[in-house]
């Protein structure tokens, strides 16, 4: 078996004096789909942002494809180009067209020829089902379309793993489905995914494993089947009863 893509050991992080992540241990294998859930403020975003070093941890170790993340910024850009990320607020570049958003990194980071990058981008735009919007600006698209462009933009880098930070939380209900459909397809294609979301339907359908976090800790992890029907401790149970009520 090959190396795990992400390997986090005894990782701790503080914001000033606030202990936000406590003794995190997490290994993500190739092709694995992991869903992270937990109450707001439990440290989910911080955890996945540590994985591409948008945040820096202070103790323990994080390895991405075997490379240790530390202060030396050497190779950081390469790691980041192998780790895709989809944000809650999309973060598309408003001054560039959809196509330009997608080809920016392939051209400037992967040093791909423009024509080749555009071909690739059109392929992924088709996959997220918005091939005809390529020449529009992000501001002209709906939220759901923007998030799908963001996914396509990430895929254009051929990432080994994609991190999702509540990708559907900023969307109106009717748009959530179009984004989730794209994510399910992506999962079926074998992409390694680490996904913070409260969409339990999505977790049931594609996750290999569900992780529950609270107070900066991983409280419980299990396969979705057992996680939902048979939570191991009371905190998880309480959370699930609140989430699943609706």
């Amino acid at each position: 078996m090959s190396d795990p893509i992400i390997e986090i050991k005894q990782m701790n992080k503080w914001f000033g004096n606030f202990h936000v992540l406590r003794d995190i241990n997490l290994t993500v294998e190739q092709g694995e789909k992991t869903v992270i859930c937990g109450p707001s403020g439990s440290g989910k975003s911080t955890l996945i942002r540590c994985i591409n070093r948008l945040e820096q941890h202070q103790e323990g170790s994080i390895r991405v494809e075997g490379v240790v993340l530390d202060d030396s910024s050497k190779g950081l850009e390469e790691i980041r180009s192998n780790v895709g990320m989809v944000f809650q607020q999309f973060n598309l570049f408003p001054h560039l067209t959809v196509l330009e958003n997608c080809v920016l990194a392939p051209i400037w980071v992967s040093k791909m020829a423009k024509a080749e990058a555009e071909e690739l981008a059109r392929k992924y735009l088709e996959r997220v089902r918005i091939p005809d919007q390529a020449d529009k600006y992000p501001g002209q698209l709906s939220g759901g379309q923007q998030q799908r462009v963001a996914i396509a933009r990430t895929l254009c880098m051929n990432p080994r793993v994609v991190l999702f930070d509540e990708p559907t939380s900023a969307l109106d209900p009717e748009m959530i489905k179009e984004v989730l459909d794209v994510m399910v397809e992506l999962a079926h294609d074998g992409m390694t995914m680490l996904c913070v979301t409260h969409e339990m339907g999505f977790a049931r359908k594609v996750a290999d494993r569900v992780i529950f976090m609270d107070e900066g800790e991983i409280v419980e992890e299990n396969n979705p089947q057992d996680f939902f029907s048979n939570p191991q401790n009371d905190r998880t149970k309480l959370f699930l009863s609140q989430v699943l009520q609706h």
Partner: protein, 371 residues
């Protein structure tokens, strides 16, 4: 369903010492990376040299007392503070007769008394306060300063000078430019094409030319426009020039506020049956002006600094009078100029800085009120 175990969160641990406290602060804010360290060291060196020079000039090598230039002519020369000390009366009042200066003090004091409660948002009686400041105070100040009534000795404006002139020009400009600016802004948004074009023309012309040309116009050209024999004094003419000039800038600030008011407010006011002036006065302007208080204060700051330009057309504002006293041979030293400028700069700075802090304070207050 199986029974669940009870979960207790891990107690938080303190952060590693090198990341928090004074040590952590210094590390992240001054020495985060090697290039940061280098930058910090260079900055410290530059800072040290600057502060060292300043302290030597203003304090260690400076002269603090003396009756004339001789005191300041030393081997190592710093600031010549006795110059400022000797001329302070002139710098504040100009050639205003010494026996009558209490009148100026009284006007200063009554202005401050009216201004302070107005600036404190929580202070009561805003309406009475405004009436006092815009109605009573100008008349009172005019009578007190010019005299010739109620047994007061008349004092020609040509004898006014220093901070007095600076404040008179600035305050008149401020008081006149706000209403004029509001009218111009309303005119610019008016439905009536002739009114609109006149206002646009006025605003764009005054914003397109330097203040000094306006002052030239006021001091050389204005007398030509008046019938033979009619003339009024130079200070008055400059006041008109400054007020017109700053009202054009004020108009653009106010227009920004008017544009930011949602259309619904205009429609709601109309739906209540309010006429144009009533809806402006009661609904639109109060909101619009509040939105642009920072912009208004910034215009005031600009106006305050611009008052120095009156020295070019021969009035003696604070800077003008300081400059004028450099010609006094009994105080001619190599450091007199810089000392005088430093003093004037400090006075202007205090006023402008205070105004800019006030505008930031209001901005923060308004943005918290909004959400």
């Amino acid at each position: 369903m199986s029974s669940a175990t009870h979960w207790t969160p891990k107690p938080p641990r303190p952060a590693p010492v090198h990341t928090v406290g004074v040590r952590g602060w210094i590390r992240t804010n001054l020495f985060a990376t090697p290039s940061d360290t280098l930058l910090t060291l260079v900055a410290m060196a530059v800072l040290y040299l600057t502060i060292d020079t300043l302290v030597h000039w203003a304090y260690i090598d400076a002269t603090f007392s003396g009756a004339n230039r001789d005191a300041c002519l030393k081997a190592v020369q710093g600031a010549c503070w006795p110059f400022v000390d000797a001329k302070l009366g002139q710098f504040i009042y100009g050639r205003y007769p010494e026996l009558e200066r209490w009148r100026v003090d009284l006007v200063f004091a009554s202005g401050v008394i009216g201004l302070i409660p107005l600036l404190i948002p929580a202070a009561p009686f805003k309406r009475a306060n405004v009436i006092y400041l815009l109605g009573f105070f100008p008349v009172f100040a005019f009578i007190m300063l010019t005299g010739g009534r109620f047994g007061l000795e008349p004092v020609e404006t040509t004898d006014w000078g220093g901070l007095l002139v600076t404040l008179v020009v600035a305050i008149t400009g401020i008081v006149a430019s706000l209403p004029l600016g509001i009218l111009l802004a309303l005119g610019r948004r008016s439905q009536m094409p002739i009114v609109r074009s006149l206002c646009i023309g006025f605003i764009e012309i005054f914003r397109g030319v330097p203040l000094i040309t306006v002052l030239f116009m006021a001091s050389v050209m204005l007398p030509l426009f008046l019938p033979d024999g009619v003339n009024f004094d130079k200070l008055m003419r400059c006041l008109i020039g400054v007020a017109l000039f700053s009202s054009a800038y004020m108009a653009e600030v106010v227009r920004g506020g008017l544009q930011a008011i949602p259309k619904g407010q205009y429609e709601a006011a109309a739906a209540l049956g309010l006429g144009y002036w009533k809806s402006m006065r009661l609904i639109i302007l109060p909101q619009a002006l509040k939105l642009v208080i920072p912009g208004i204060v910034n215009t005031f700051i600009g106006l305050f600094k611009d008052t120095t330009l009156v020295l070019i057309v021969g009035l003696f504002d604070l800077l003008g009078i300081v400059q004028f006293h450099f010609t006094d041979a009994s105080w001619a030293t190599p450091e007199t100029h810089i000392t005088g400028y430093a003093f004037a700069a400090f006075v202007f700075w205090v006023f402008c800085f205070a105004m800019s802090r006030y505008s930031i304070f209001m901005e923060n207050r308004l943005s918290t009120e909004r959400d």
